[in-house]
Symmetry: C2
Subunit: 149 residues, 2 copies
């Protein structure tokens, strides 16, 4: 199956820093030929180790400065509907099914607090929400890349 050596790790690290870095440069930095790097990258993508090359954008620059963390209790009968809603809603950046008293934790990116209210109203009106509790991110020490959609 999937066997990764430390050269694969280095290549992933370099392309994580800059996915558009020429493979010739990557090759120089890891001590392989361009062809070998090209082949390894092809293999890593084919294996699903690298899912895709993407970008990290600034939510503030795109008008979505508010990050809300929403705990949600979802009616059992509506779980499937909730999941497909969460998968397709553009404001939902993350959605995890979690242990504990709440069923799901969502990360929601919106323009302002009115956006949070609109979102919760939308969820309730589709009967996808029994109860919820929302926290706001005041500041972020470390964040995952943000990909607009």
């Amino acid at each position: 199956m999937t066997v990764l050596d430390d050269l694969d790790g280095k290549i992933i690290g370099l392309l994580a820093e800059d996915a558009r870095k020429p493979l010739t440069e990557v090759a120089g930095q890891v001590g392989l030929s361009t062809s070998a790097v090209n082949e390894r990258v092809r293999r890593l993508v084919a294996q699903g180790v690298i899912r895709r090359f993407t970008l990290d954008a600034s939510p503030e620059a795109l008008g979505l400065p508010v990050l809300a963390l929403v705990w949600a209790a979802v009616p059992h009968a509506r779980e499937a509907a909730f999941r497909s809603f969460a998968a397709s809603h553009p404001g939902i950046v993350e959605c995890h099914h979690v242990t504990g008293v709440w069923s799901y934790l969502l990360h929601l990116r919106v323009a302002d607090l009115a956006g949070v209210e609109t979102f919760l109203t939308e969820l309730k009106s589709e009967d996808l929400l029994e109860r919820s509790e929302t926290m706001l991110a005041l500041s972020t020490v470390r964040s995952a890349p943000w990909v607009p959609r």
Copy 2:
């Protein structure tokens, strides 16, 4: 300041899908010349709208299948130390300062449950944790890109 039109949005969308897509292709899809796209991408990066080109890797493939969501109460006097710890710890994927009874929400990527315990023990031993509550992600409906480090 930052003015973005819908062509910028399209370009960002296409490169978010595949950051290594040739700009010649992007140009064809948005109806501009390659040079114009090149110039817009340069501008978007310079403005910080695009922070970087990166990749989305599989945490499972890299041996980190467990995602723990950790609420943390941090001693006031240790906040600065906590923040620099969180910023540099490789397992901490996200760290947000939040409203509500807990100070911080962390996302932790680890190999197994023992990794969660080790992490909490490490935090406590450096006096960075007053109390905490950990939830495990059972499954993920939608996730942000994961960038190994």
